[in-house]
């Protein structure tokens, strides 16, 4: 340190760095205090026995992990989380693509349609989910009534009353929330494809499907990858749809990892087990976000 000669230039450098640290300090303190520290504490909870208030009682090593991993319920919940994410992301991508293609055609009211398609994303998620619980109401809700009257489904289920229909009802709400984002992103991508590509394809007598496969899809591939990853992160993390709609019920049969962590901690006061599941969730999400970060920083294609 003392050997370094402080030229005026170096002094400036040191001052600049000091200023930078000062400016970053509040943000870093907040992130450390309210994100990193709680995360470290969750790690601790997962290797300690905890009491009903979440206090660390005794170091038990990996015992909690053993308890959770040998519990069949944990695997059911994890399986449901994976099914939930896969199915929802697939449907969001598919429906998003269809809507983007429709909106990419010029027709009267096209701008209006675009505005309207955004609504589920723009609306408040917890409140939309509450609305859906009314829509799904078996006796007075308009969904079952509409399905019956139009003959689409003469005998619709009591959606939120049973494990399977409840789960699919919740997945649909999650899809419904996530589709607009995908549609808009895909649409922006499609609109940046040069028109000439399609014109020359027209001259070669290429059909619509081939145009989609050989022009549209390759051109927006990177956008599809990024938004699908982002959507997977959000979908895996979705707490509201299940918790507000079914509360994980009947009898925990619709719980996914995220709602199960919450219930284990705050309903059943099993903080150590909740912590183990939280750590596992954290690992899954972090690996997903590392992939997301890679794509995010990738310059071109």
């Amino acid at each position: 340190m003392s050997e370094r000669v402080l030229t005026p230039h170096n002094k400036l450098r040191v001052r600049e760095a000091r200023l930078a640290y000062a400016l970053l300090l509040p943000a870093v303190v907040c992130v450390t205090g309210f994100m990193i520290y709680p995360l470290v504490y969750v790690f601790l909870m997962s290797v300690f026995k905890t009491n009903r208030l979440g206090w660390l009682v005794k170091f038990v090593g990996l015992t909690n992990f053993g308890t959770v991993l040998s519990d069949i319920e944990f695997w059911r919940v994890t399986g449901r989380s994976l099914l939930w994410t896969t199915l929802a992301v697939f449907m969001k991508t598919f429906l998003g693509m269809v809507i983007a293609m429709l909106l990419n055609v010029q027709f009267r009211g096209q701008k209006m349609a675009r505005m309207l398609f955004i609504a589920p994303w723009a609306s408040s998620v917890p409140i939309s989910v509450l609305l859906w619980s009314w829509v799904y109401n078996p006796q007075f809700g308009l969904l079952n009534h509409t399905l019956k009257i139009t003959g689409i489904w003469p005998n619709p289920p009591v959606w939120l009353g049973y494990p399977i229909s409840g789960f699919f009802a919740a997945i649909w709400v999650d899809i419904w929330i996530g589709v607009p984002f995908m549609a808009l992103v895909f649409l922006s991508g499609m609109q940046s494809i040069p028109e000439e590509l399609y014109e020359s394809a027209d001259m070669d007598g290429v059909n619509n499907f081939q145009k989609f496969k050989f022009i549209t899809l390759p051109s927006i591939l990177r956008i599809v990858q990024i938004s699908t990853l982002l959507s997977a992160l959000w979908t895996f993390n979705d707490f509201n749809a299940i918790y507000i709609l079914t509360g994980g019920g009947p009898v925990n049969s619709t719980d996914i990892l995220i709602t199960s962590i919450y219930k284990n901690a705050f309903v059943y006061a099993r903080f150590d087990q909740a912590a183990v599941m939280a750590i596992i969730t954290f690992i899954i999400l972090t690996s997903l976000s590392v992939v997301y970060a890679r794509y995010y920083f990738k310059e071109d294609v």
């Binding site: 450098r13 930078a20 640290y21 400016l23 970053l24 943000a27 907040c30 992130v31 709680p38 995360l39 969750v42 909870m45 979440g54 429906l95 269809v98 809507i99 055609v105 701008k111 349609a113 505005m115 309207l116 398609f117 609504a119 589920p120 723009a122 609306s123 408040s124 998620v125 917890p126 409140i127 509450l130 609305l131 009314w134 829509v135 109401n137 007075f140 308009l142 009534h145 419904w176 984002f181 992103v185 991508g189 609109q191 940046s192 399609y198 145009k211 956008i223 990024i226 707490f239 509201n240 507000i244 962590i261 919450y262 901690a265 912590a275 969730t281 999400l285 972090t286 976000s289 920083f297």
Partner: protein, 282 residues
């Protein structure tokens, strides 16, 4: 900006496109239709089986009833305080940090960059189970301050990313010229950088506001007192307790959604650009 094209689909495909669009719109907007048709009925007409799509008598009475029947005004107040507080705190934390990342050279710049990217993906549920203890130790349970801090912190990473992008896109030469003219660093920030990046500031402020307005999990975990509940939690509890008053709930939902809907339409295009990292131009 928007150049829809037709050549891909010959005109004969158009009716098909329009029919499919309308069909999908009907499906996607169905819950909003249900909300509107429910909030315009008397409670008598809400609970008939089979239900009706359109009520026989339309009433706006629910818009008066909601204010007296439960603490809707209180929920609105809480949501507003939390959302405004979070956006303000978020700005206070992210503008300096974003400036440092965009304009200053220091050791650990990469570390800071990655720190903010990683925490952007943090799952609230993962940390909430221990955050509860931190909050109770700091006496932040049942307080606006607690929710303001946590909402600001969880929006901060995204804000820093978006803002530092805006700051970086401003040519350094403008500031250098100002320095030569004797401007201080503070002046270059307040007179050059912030005004030029005002679209970014608006986007991040609105984004934080919306995120805090819509937040549910932290409120559910940290708020017990009725008078501190934001709209999301208040309405959720309302359903649990008075599940028989959907005409009032849909009316409240309508009122609660309007502010965020309007704000969202202002920023949606820039939001998409920020989330996909320039893969999509805003």
């Amino acid at each position: 900006m928007m150049k829809p094209r037709t050549s891909k689909w010959r005109n004969r495909g158009k009716p098909f496109v329009i029919i499919l669009t309308v069909l999908l719109l009907l499906i996607m907007l169905f819950p909003f239709f249900v909300m509107i048709t429910t909030m315009l009925r008397t409670s008598k007409e809400v609970y008939i089986s089979p239900p009706r799509w359109i009520p026989h008598t339309i009433t706006f009475n629910n818009f008066f009833l909601v204010w007296s029947q439960y603490l809707l005004a209180g929920y609105f107040k809480s949501s507003a305080i939390i959302a405004i507080g979070s956006s303000a705190l978020n700005m206070l934390l992210s503008i300096p940090a974003a400036y440092a990342i965009a304009r200053l050279r220091f050791k650990g710049q990469q570390v800071a960059l990655y720190l903010f990217l990683v925490v952007q993906m943090f799952s609230p549920v993962v940390v909430v189970i221990s955050l509860f203890k931190t909050f109770s130790a700091l006496n932040l349970l049942d307080s606006y301050i607690g929710l303001i801090i946590i909402n600001a912190v969880f929006s901060m990473a995204f804000s820093i990313w978006l803002l530092s992008g805006y700051f970086k896109s401003i040519p350094v030469q403008i500031e250098e010229a100002a320095f030569i003219d004797g401007a201080t660093r503070w002046q270059t920030v307040t007179r050059i950088i912030l005004p030029i990046s005002s679209p970014g500031l608006v986007t991040t402020t609105i984004y934080t506001f919306i995120a805090a307005w819509n937040e549910f999990l932290f409120a559910l975990s940290f708020i017990q007192k009725q008078e501190r509940m934001p709209l999301t939690l208040g309405l959720y509890r309302f359903v649990g307790r008075w599940s028989s008053q959907w005409e009032l709930l849909t009316t409240s939902a309508f009122l609660a959604i309007i502010p965020v809907l309007v704000l969202f339409y202002i920023i949606q295009q820039r939001l998409i650009g920020g989330l996909t990292g320039g893969a999509v131009k805003g």
